[in-house]
Symmetry: C2
Subunit: 200 residues, 2 copies
């Protein structure tokens, strides 16, 4: 029906998250229709990414340099380490601009179900980094899931010997969120962590 090259391209595109066999076909056709504007640049971008992007040996971020630009940025605060599960979480926090310290990407969570133990995650290097006297606080920015919280507890035990303050992101009502649509767990957490309202 179509060239082997196209079939192969569709199969690979279909393995991307968010694309199924049908949308992969559409994507392949869009690429072929916009050959110079899309297909060729995308091939080049993938090639360059494969060649240049590496995992930071210190924090696990993805960058074209190792240590990554966040680890070597002289403006960022060395006394804070924010622990995240995945690089995607690091990106999300960076987009928010809410954190100006250093990161540590675990590479996932502990999971009995998926058989992922501490060896699979960047735990040992976190303990090593937290032992540095410059570090004052380690912030767990892990998912509010069973696995995320299990991981946070485990990390807290492992870091008990280090002279650092441990903290976690606040739980509560998402900004813009309507109470009506929130689950009981979130509402309970938000109620427990309630703060004084401005009386002005």
């Amino acid at each position: 029906m179509s060239a082997g090259e196209i079939e192969r391209l569709i199969q690979l595109l279909a393995r991307l998250p968010g694309l199924g066999p049908r949308s992969a076909r559409r994507a392949a056709l869009a690429l072929l229709e916009r050959r110079e504007q899309l297909l060729v640049p995308l091939a080049a971008a993938l090639q360059q990414t494969a060649e240049r992007v590496v995992s930071c040996g210190r924090c696990g971020n993805l960058d074209s340099q190792d240590p990554c630009s966040l680890c070597v940025d002289p403006v960022r605060d060395d006394s804070l380490i924010c622990v995240v599960e995945e690089v995607a979480d690091l990106w999300a926090l960076e987009r928010s601009g809410a954190f100006k310290g250093r990161y540590h990407v675990l590479g996932g969570t502990l999971s009995a179900l998926d058989g992922r133990g501490p060896e699979e995650l960047r735990v040992a290097s976190l303990v090593e980094r937290a032992s540095d006297t410059k570090v004052v606080e380690v912030i767990f920015a892990l998912g509010a899931t069973v696995d995320g919280q299990t991981t946070a507890h485990y990390l807290a035990e492992r870091l008990a010997g280090c002279d650092v303050r441990l903290s976690r992101l606040a739980h509560g009502v998402p900004v813009g969120g309507q109470l009506d649509y929130l689950d009981d767990g979130t509402l309970t957490a938000a109620m427990r962590a309630r703060s004084p309202a401005a009386s002005s």
Copy 2:
């Protein structure tokens, strides 16, 4: 925040149909996580597609050879030409296995709204192909849309001088479709084109 290469990759991925900025980020991370299984093969597949896949000079299909494998296949019926809007439609018909003649990909429909006239479509070459004495029937497999039907009417006029039978796909109830969910147009068409029921 992240390497320029990754940003560029995300921007390009976000231009694929079916992927927005958010899913493009997820796709980029999936690619980076599965570098050898996905990123490198996809880069190679895009590169090969860009180099090898061409538009068939005869029918407009995409293939690694010109004329394409469907145009040169000796088993297919030279007396039938099936006119489709896009290569995606050709693929869909090929998947169905319902047609064993030759194809002609218009490259779209006439559209007053988008300012697409006959010059933008492969109309002249269709008339030329239909003038061949071997050709007996031209089948319009165009969308049941206003633009599709306008295009079919226009093509019928252009092909009036050729000694060929013109036909179009049947309209009716989709196989597996429930009447309840069908629009009035489809139901009216299906009622008009009703056929004798088997009485056995």
